[in-house]
């Protein structure tokens, strides 16, 4: 079979992306879950997978041979990210600003720059039954999440359904995560903050031409404006999860609530089949 790639995103943080991604993954079975929130990965805290592999993740960065460098300044002049600073006597590289484009190597007339690599984090793979979890942990102090997300996404298993748990927000790490998805589930809460950030996320997905639908988490708190907005815009509300203390408590203890509240497993399977239908059409 050819699987579906479904990302789970939200503008606002803490709306329940990871909880939805994990509970859906458990309910549908035989799935690959990629936790792309490399700054604060949390899916493993709910899944408690058996870790079968761990490897360092590197990004490319220039390494300069000072013997060959004639301090012409072409590389620093080229670099759009100010990652190379050069004077007539010295040349300095600021690796944490480097995007790894390789342009400095191309423009160096002396062949003094080679591709070096720099560690940015750790990739982990594990299993819980037939559910495969891949996640990355960005090293603390490391600003660049995007290369790590790209690295995780190279491991997408096209033979299965794949769920991508996105970081919050709408900037580069989110774009990198949702890019190439067949469908995106936007998780929101029915509050003014939830609605405001949902609208921003909707703009991004419409711009990227990725089909999407909404899951309303903590239904019952706040107001009705998220529903009004979705109705007006014809955005499908795929599932509502009421605010229940039991769900919050299970989450706090690191337990996916659908394991203890079996009625939700059917709801998550229905959610996924709706997604399959909407993604196809």
């Amino acid at each position: 079979m050819v699987g579906l790639i479904v990302s789970v995103a939200s503008g606002k943080g803490g709306t329940g992306k990871t909880s939805i991604a994990v509970n859906m993954a458990i309910s549908i079975g035989n799935v690959q879950l990629l936790d792309c929130d490399v700054e604060e990965p949390n899916a493993h805290l709910l899944l408690h997978p058996e870790i079968i592999g761990e490897e360092p993740v590197y990004t490319l960065t220039p390494s300069i041979d000072e013997e060959l460098c004639n301090h012409c300044g072409k590389c620093s002049g080229f670099c759009q990210y100010n990652a190379i600073f050069s004077t007539h006597e010295r040349i300095l590289v600021f690796p944490e600003l480097c995007h790894g484009c390789g342009g400095c190597i191309l423009v160096c007339p002396k062949g003094a720059i080679k591709e070096g690599r720099r560690r940015i984090g750790t990739l982990k793979r594990g299993y819980r039954g037939d559910l495969e979890l891949v996640y990355g942990e960005l090293d603390v102090g490391e600003p660049m999440a995007t290369p790590m997300i790209r690295y995780i996404k190279r491991l997408i298993d096209k033979g299965r359904n794949v769920i991508l748990d996105s970081p919050p927000g709408i900037s580069c790490p989110v774009i990198e995560t949702v890019k190439g998805s067949d469908f995106c589930i936007l998780v929101t809460e029915p509050t003014p903050f939830g609605l405001h950030d949902l609208k921003i996320a909707v703009q991004v997905l419409e711009d990227m031409a990725i089909p999407f639908g909404v899951v309303v988490n903590r239904a019952g708190i706040g107001d009705r404006k998220v529903y009004d907005y979705c109705n007006d815009r014809g955005i499908p509300i795929l599932l509502e999860i009421p605010y229940e203390r039991r769900i919050a408590e299970l989450y706090s203890r690191g337990i996916p609530f659908s394991l203890e509240m079996a009625e939700y497993r059917g709801r998550f399977r229905k959610l996924f089949s709706d997604v399959e239908r909407l993604a196809g059409g």
């Binding site: 503008g11 606002k12 943080g13 803490g14 709306t15 990871t18 929130d37 490399v38 700054e39 604060e40 949390n42 805290l45 709910l46 490319l60 080229f78 759009q80 990210y81 995007h99 484009c101 390789g102 342009g103 191309l106 423009v107 960005l138 603390v140 102090g141 490391e142 600003p143 660049m144 999440a145 970081p167 919050p168 927000g169 709408i170 900037s171 580069c172 790490p173 989110v174 774009i175 890019k179 509050t191 003014p192 903050f193 405001h196 950030d197 921003i200 996320a201 703009q203 991004v204 711009d207 990227m208 708190i221 706040g222 107001d223 919050a248 408590e249 989450y251 706090s252 203890r253 690191g254």
Partner: protein, 290 residues
């Protein structure tokens, strides 16, 4: 001048609720909303914009179809897979590096500046607010955060205000780093959940890495008292001051729906009470009152 950043690692723990409340309690302050991806502070503070500026944070490659000879060099050399089969630039993938411009044999590619967002300076009831909005899907939120912080500082100096309150985005990556460098203290808002604890530890490491004085507060502490206990003892063992524990109170969401801070909407409720205590501790610590 004193600068305090409210951060969290994990999203949705209550950063904005706290920052907005602090600004009211401070009486006079400059507030900086550094969550430029999904800014929410304006919904509680209702800023009146006095100054708007364009933010040009990155560039975008543009291919002149008339000149392009479809040799494929740009596509081969682009590390970001930003050149499509039909020699168009995918703006969601392009990082504006200029490699395509450098390799094009017929000068068919140029780098254009793109307006990736707007920064604002506004009046709010406690003083001033520096904020911004990143255009959806744009890169370089870290640079925009730096602009928001620069504007906050400029306004504080101009208006002779001695406190800047910074609302950070979630996470620990580039825009968060830009929100915490050089501040006097970082208040981490956490919640007593497995993820909250995990993310708190990473946020503490981040503050340590950048030499920022850490403070912790537990929001909705009564959701799971065992976990709150774990957070408190972890902080004690690591010499981190706990500034307070805020109880769960539905009034906090009610206040948000009304577009008010909790300390104004329901000043006598237990949550508002604890937020005032936390602000007292921060002010004492930073010697804000003289």
């Amino acid at each position: 001048m004193r600068r305090v950043t409210v951060l969290s690692g994990k999203g949705g723990t209550g950063k904005t609720t706290l920052t907005a409340s602090f600004s009211i309690l401070a009486g006079k302050a400059v507030v900086a909303d550094c969550d430029v991806d999904a800014p929410d502070l304006h919904m509680l503070l209702h800023p009146e914009i006095v100054e708007t500026m364009e933010f040009k944070g990155s560039k975008l490659a543009v291919i002149d179809e008339g000149r392009c000879v479809r040799c494929g060099l740009c596509r081969e050399k682009c590390r970001f897979n930003a050149i499509t089969e039909s020699f168009k630039v995918d703006r969601f993938s392009c990082e504006g590096c200029g490699v395509c411009v450098a390799v094009c044999p017929v000068n068919a590619v140029v780098l254009n500046e793109r307006v990736s967002g707007y920064a604002y300076i506004s009046r709010v009831r406690c003083g001033f607010m520096s904020h911004a909005i990143l255009n959806p899907g744009e890169a370089n939120s870290g640079k925009l955060v730096t602009l928001v912080r620069y504007n906050a500082r400029m306004v504080a100096e101009r208006e002779n205000i001695n406190i800047i309150l910074i609302d950070a985005p979630p996470g620990i990556g580039c825009p968060v780093i830009a929100s915490i460098t050089g501040v006097d203290a970082g208040l981490i808002v956490t919640e007593p959940t497995a993820s909250g604890i995990h993310d708190l530890k990473r946020a503490l490491q981040l503050l340590k890495h950048f030499n920022v004085l850490p403070l912790v507060c537990v929001n909705m502490y009564d959701l799971n008292r065992d976990n709150t206990g774990k957070i408190l003892s972890f902080c004690r063992d690591n010499g981190v001051e706990v500034a307070g524990e805020i109880p769960f109170n539905p009034k906090v969401t009610e206040a948000m729906v009304r577009g008010e801070t909790i300390v104004e909407y329901s000043p006598k409720c237990d949550a508002a009470d604890e937020i005032r205590n936390i602000w007292e501790r921060i002010s004492t610590l930073l010697e804000l009152k003289k």
